[in-house]
C-alpha cells in the first residue's frame, strides 16, 4: 500500500466499533469512527474516507439506509459496506447482490452480522481494488 487508506466505521455499539477499529488498524488502515449517522455526517464534512462500513440499525431503525444515501450523494465513488443483524434477528432475507437491489440499497456490499473479519478484509480489498 502506497498511502494508508481511510475507512469510516459507523456503528452505535462501542464494542463492535472498537473491534473493527483494532482489526482494521492492524491491517494497515486508518480508521475514522462515528457512533451515529449524525456524527458520521459531521465527520464526512471533514474527511473523505476511501470506504465506509455502516451499520444498518442504529438508534432510528433504518438510520444506516439514510446515511448510505447521503454518503453516495456526497461522494458517489466511495464504496459502502452495509452491515446488518437484520437477517439474524428477524429472519428477513435481503441482499445487495443484484444491481436492482443495489439501486435502492445504496450500498455496494451487504454483510450479515456477525461479520468474519477475513471476509470483511477481502471485501474491502476488492472494493478498494487492492491486489492480493
Amino acid at each position: 500500500m502506497s498511502t494508508k487508506k481511510t475507512i469510516m466505521v459507523v456503528d452505535d455499539d462501542s464494542d463492535y466499533r472498537f473491534q473493527q477499529k483494532v482489526q482494521l488498524e492492524a491491517s494497515g488502515y486508518t480508521v475514522v469512527e462515528a457512533d451515529s449517522a449524525e456524527q458520521a455526517m459531521e465527520e464526512l464534512e471533514k474527511t473523505r474516507p476511501d470506504l465506509a462500513l455502516v451499520d444498518l440499525m442504529m438508534e432510528e431503525m433504518d438510520a444506516g439506509f439514510t446515511l448510505c444515501y447521503h454518503i453516495k450523494k456526497k461522494y458517489p465513488d466511495v464504496p459502502i459496506i452495509l452491515a446488518t443483524a437484520v437477517t439474524r434477528e428477524t429472519g428477513l432475507e435481503f441482499d445487495a447482490a443484484t444491481s436492482e437491489e443495489r439501486s435502492w440499497i445504496k450500498a455496494d456490499v451487504l454483510l450479515a452480522k456477525p461479520i468474519r473479519f477475513d471476509q470483511l478484509r477481502r471485501e474491502i480489498e476488492r472494493l478498494l481494488g487492492i491486489a492480493k
Binding site: D15, Q19, V22, F117
Partner: protein, 383 residues
C-alpha cells in the same frame, strides 16, 4: 355487561315457562369482579334435547331436572362430565333426597334446587352459579395475560443477555484470529472491556434474581426496625468508589434517624439503586443529594442528581422492566434496565410509590414513598 347463557331442562311446560320468566329480566352485579350480568335463557324438554343443545353450544349454566321422561338428569350430568364440558349445573329435584344429591354431586353438579322453589330461591341459586362462572372467566383471562407478560419478559431478557455475550465473543474471535496487531495497550483495552461487559451481565443476573424473588413472593422477608438514614449512608459509601474518580460529591440530608418497620435488604436495594443511578447518570464534577424525610405515616426518600436528565416521554416509561433510555448521552453507560422497575415494585409493596421529576441536562429527582403503617405480609404480593 356480561351475558351468560342458561339452559333450562325440564319436562313440565309450566316449570320451563316460570323459570324462563323469572330469569328474563334478572340482572345483577357480580360483586367480586364488579361486572354487570344478564342472563339469556333457552329451554329443553328432554335430556336428549339438552345433550344435543349442550354439544352444539354449551351454556354457562344448566338448570337440570332430575326426573325426565327419557334419559335422566344424572345421565345428562354424566355426559357433561365425560366430555369435560366447562359449565355449571344446578340440579332441580322434586324429592330432595340425600341419595340423589350425593350421586349428582359425584357427577359434577354445582348446586341444588328442591321443588317447589320460589323465584327468589331460583334467582339466588342462579346468581351464585353465575358469579362463580364470571370469577373463573376473569381468573382465566388474568392467567392468560400473565403468561403473555411473562413470555415478553423472557424474550427481552434473552435479547439483553445476548448483547454482552456477543461483545465478548467478538473480542475472543479477535484474539483467536490474531488480528489485533501487536500493541499491548490494545490487548489491555480488550481485556478491560470484556471485564466490564461481564460485570454488567452479572449485575443483570443478580437484579433478575431480586426481581423474580420479589414477584414470586419467595423471598423471605424479615421485618425489623430499620433506620432509613443509616441505610442511605451505607448506599452512599457503596457508591463512593464510582463517584470519587469523577469528582461527584454526595450529600446526605437528614437531621435525625428515620425509622420504620421493614425488610432491611429491601430498603438497601431501593437506596442502592437510586444512589448508584444518580452517580452513573451524573456529569463529572456533579453532585448527588439524598434526602430522607418523614411525615406522620410516610417515609420519603428523595435522590437528586445534576446529570443528563430526561424528557417527559422518557420519564413515563422509565419504571418498566428492561427500559433503558437510549440516546447519545446514555450510550456508553451500562445497566440492566431492571433497577428502577425493582424500586417501584418494592415501593408498592410498602403501600407507597416511586416517581421521577426530571429536566434534560439539568438533572433528575427520584422520590420513593413508603408507608410506615403498611402491614407487611410474610410474602410479597404481585404488585
Amino acid at each position: 355487561m356480561e351475558t351468560l347463557q342458561v339452559l333450562v331442562c325440564d319436562d313440565e311446560p309450566g316449570m320451563r315457562m316460570s323459570v324462563a320468566r323469572a330469569l328474563r329480566d334478572f340482572t345483577f352485579t357480580a360483586s367480586d369482579v364488579n361486572a354487570e350480568v344478564r342472563l339469556e335463557t333457552d329451554v329443553a324438554e328432554t335430556g336428549e334435547e339438552a345433550v344435543k343443545k349442550i354439544d352444539a353450544a354449551p351454556p354457562h349454566i344448566l338448570l337440570l331436572d332430575h326426573k325426565l321422561p327419557g334419559i335422566s338428569g344424572l345421565d345428562v350430568l354424566e355426559h357433561i362430565a365425560s366430555k369435560k364440558i366447562d359449565m355449571l349445573t344446578i340440579m332441580i329435584t322434586a324429592y330432595a333426597s340425600i341419595e340423589t344429591a350425593v350421586r349428582a354431586t359425584r357427577q359434577g353438579a354445582y348446586d341444588f334446587l328442591a321443588k317447589p322453589f320460589t323465584p327468589a330461591e331460583l334467582k339466588n341459586a342462579v346468581r351464585k352459579a353465575a358469579e362463580h362462572v364470571i370469577v373463573a372467566q376473569h381468573a382465566r383471562k388474568l392467567a392468560r395475560e400473565k403468561r403473555q407478560v411473562r413470555f415478553q419478559f423472557i424474550s427481552v431478557l434473552a435479547h439483553e443477555l445476548k448483547a454482552p455475550l456477543g461483545a465478548i465473543e467478538g473480542y475472543m474471535q479477535l484474539l483467536r484470529d490474531g488480528s489485533a496487531g501487536d500493541d499491548p495497550e490494545v490487548y489491555r483495552q480488550i481485556i478491560e472491556r470484556c471485564m466490564t461487559r461481564t460485570a454488567y451481565m452479572r449485575k443483570m443476573i443478580l437484579d433478575l434474581l431480586d426481581l423474580t424473588r420479589i414477584e414470586s413472593g419467595q423471598k423471605k422477608r424479615e421485618f425489623v426496625e430499620v433506620d432509613v438514614v443509616a441505610s442511605a449512608r451505607t448506599a452512599i459509601e457503596t457508591a463512593t468508589p464510582d463517584a470519587q474518580p469523577r469528582n461527584i460529591e454526595m450529600r446526605l440530608l437528614a437531621d435525625h434517624p428515620v425509622r420504620m418497620r421493614a425488610d432491611a435488604g429491601e430498603i438497601e436495594i431501593i437506596l442502592n439503586n437510586l444512589v448508584s443511578n444518580a452517580v452513573k447518570y451524573n456529569r463529572d464534577g456533579g453532585s448527588v443529594e439524598v434526602k430522607i424525610a418523614e411525615s406522620e405515616d410516610t417515609v420519603i426518600i428523595s435522590v437528586s442528581d445534576t446529570g443528563i436528565g430526561m424528557s417527559e416521554e422518557e420519564c413515563a416509561k422509565l419504571f418498566n422492566d428492561f427500559v433503558r433510555i437510549k440516546n447519545r448521552k446514555t450510550r456508553d453507560i451500562l445497566g440492566s434496565g431492571l433497577g428502577l422497575s425493582i424500586v417501584k415494585k418494592l415501593a408498592h409493596a410498602y403501600g407507597g410509590d416511586a416517581t421521577v421529576a426530571s429536566r434534560p441536562d439539568i438533572g433528575s429527582t427520584f422520590t420513593v414513598t413508603l408507608k410506615k403503617a403498611f402491614i407487611p405480609t410474610g410474602t410479597m404480593l404481585d404488585s
